[in-house]
C-alpha cells in the first residue's frame, strides 16, 4: 500500500482579510492543530482560479482547502460569491474525475474564528487519512504520466519517484 509514515498534505488558499487573519488569530491564541496544511495567501477567495486547485491536486497534494469570508462579508463585496459558484460546479467536475469528495473543501471563516481554522484543518486531515494519498500522478498505470505536462515540474516528478 502506501508508506505507513504518510501524512495527508493539504494546500490551502486563504483570503487575506478573513481566513488568513483567522489563522493568525489561531496562532496568537496558541491553539494547536495538525501540521499538514500549507497556506497560500491571496487577497480574496475570488482570486482562486480553479487551475490552482487542479495544479495542487496534480502536483502532489492530498487535499485542497479554500478559505474565504462568509457570504455577505467579503472585503471586496462579492468575490466569495464567485468562489462559491465556481466551487459548486468544480465539485461536480471533480466527481467526474473520480476524486473523493472530502479532498476539496470550501469553508467560510471570519477573521474572529481562529478556532474554526483549527477545527476545519483537524477535521479535514482526519477525513483524508482513511482515503490514503491522492498520488494523482501514480494512479493511472505506466503510461498515465509524462514529464511533458505543464503542471508538473521535473522537481515534482523527483519528489514522487
Amino acid at each position: 500500500m502506501h508508506d505507513p509514515n504518510w501524512e495527508p498534505r493539504i494546500v490551502a488558499f486563504f483570503c487575506n482579510w478573513c481566513t488568513y487573519t483567522a489563522a493568525d488569530l489561531a496562532g496568537v491564541s496558541r491553539l494547536k492543530y495538525a501540521p499538514n496544511v500549507r497556506i497560500v495567501r491571496l487577497m480574496c477567495s475570488g482570486r482562486v482560479d480553479p487551475q490552482f486547485i487542479l495544479a495542487a491536486l496534480a502536483g502532489g497534494a492530498d487535499g485542497v482547502l479554500i478559505g474565504g469570508c462568509h457570504i455577505g462579508d467579503c472585503h471586496y463585496a462579492e468575490g466569495n460569491l464567485k468562489t462559491l459558484r465556481r466551487f459548486r460546479l468544480l465539485k461536480r467536475l471533480l466527481a467526474g474525475f473520480g476524486l473523493e469528495e472530502p479532498r476539496v473543501r470550501l469553508e467560510w471563516i471570519s477573521a474572529a474564528e481562529g478556532d474554526k481554522v483549527r477545527c476545519v484543518i483537524n477535521e479535514m486531515v482526519e477525513q483524508l487519512r482513511p482515503l490514503g494519498p491522492l498520488a494523482w500522478g501514480q494512479r493511472h498505470g505506466a503510461q498515465g504520466w509524462q514529464a511533458a505536462s505543464a503542471a508538473i515540474t521535473p522537481e515534482a516528478e523527483a519528489a514522487h519517484a
Binding site: 475570488g46 482560479d49 480553479p50 487551475q51 486547485i53 487542479l54 495544479a55 491536486l57 496534480a58 457570504i71 462579492e78 460569491l81 464567485k82 462559491l84 459558484r85 465556481r86 459548486r88 460546479l89 468544480l90 461536480r92 467536475l93 466527481a95 467526474g96 474525475f97 473520480g98 476524486l99 473523493e100 491522492l134 494523482w136 494512479r139 493511472h140 498505470g141 505506466a142 503510461q143 498515465g144 504520466w145 509524462q146 511533458a148 505536462s149 505543464a150 503542471a151
Partner: protein, 328 residues
Amino acid sequence: MPKPKVAIYWCASCGGCEEAVVDLAEDILGILDAVDIVFWPVAMDFKKSDVAALPDQALFATLLNGAIRTSDQEEMARLLRRKSRHLVAYGACASLGGVPGLANQFSREQLLRFAYDEAPTLGADRKTRPALETRHNGHPLVLPELDETVRSLDQVVEVDYYLPGCPPTPKLTQAALLALLSDNPPPRGSVLAPDIALCDECPRKASKPQDLSFSEFKRPHQMMIDAEKCLLAQGLVCCGPATRGGCGAQCIGGNMPCTGCFGPTSRVRDQGAKILSSLCANVAAKDETAIQRTLDGIPDPLGTFYRYALPRSILRRSGYAAAETTPK
C-alpha cells in the same frame, strides 16, 4: 534541387484532418509545387517500411494528426519524430488529445468491457475480447495494444509546432506550411494560430452585453437559437472566450456555439478550468438553491469543458476511485 519531403499521418482520429488537407482544393496544387508528399496512408500507397528506410531527419515536416492511444500509434509517432526535422501536431487530437481524449474518463477495462461484453447490440455469441495475437490459416496476426490513457502527441515525443482545430482550417494549414518553408520559420514550440480568444473575430461580438449574467444555461437542442445575437447572451455555453481564434468563427456562422476545439491561449494551463471559472463568475444567482438550479443547466461539465483538451488538462484523466461504473 529536390523538393522538401512531407509526411501526413493519422493516429487516433476521425479522418477530418485528412479532409482538411483535401479541402485546400486548388490551393493544394501550390503546396504540391513546393513539397513532395511521401507518406499519406489515406491517399497514397507508401508504406511504413518506406519511412523507416529514410535517413533520420530526411523528412522536412510531418503533419501528424490524431491522439496517441495504441502501441502502434506510439511506435509510428516515435518513428516519424526520428525521421522528421519538424514534427507538427496537426489538429485538436494531436495538439490536445481531442475528442478521443474523452476516453480518459474511463479505464481501459471499462472501455473493453462495454465494447466487447456489454454493448446492447452484441449478441450472446459475439462476446469475444480481441486478443493481441492470433493465428489464421497458419499466419500470425497481431493487434496493437490499447493504452490505458489517451495522450496528446507532445506527451509522447517532442513536438515542434501545433496547428489546432477540429480540423484546422485550410487557410491556417496553408499559412503554416508556407511559414515553415519560409526563411523565417516561427519559434519552435509555437502554436500556429492567433493567441487571442475567438470573441476577437466573432461576428456577434457587438451584440454581447457588457453586463452578461446567467440566470440559466441552455443546450442547443432546448431552444430556437437567434441567428444574430451572441450565443452566451442567449444562455448557451459558448466556449469562445476561452478558445483561440483563427477558425473564422465557422461554428458561430453555423448558428452553433463554439465547443473549444482550438484549445486555450498560451496564458492558460487548463482550458476547462477557465471556462468553468468564467461562466460561474457570471452566474446571476446569489443563494445556494438558485446557484444549484442554474448550474444544473450544465449536466456534463467534464464533457462540455474538456471536449477536446482532456489529455492536456492538468488532471489529464480520471482516477479510478469512482471507477468501475459502466460508461453510459
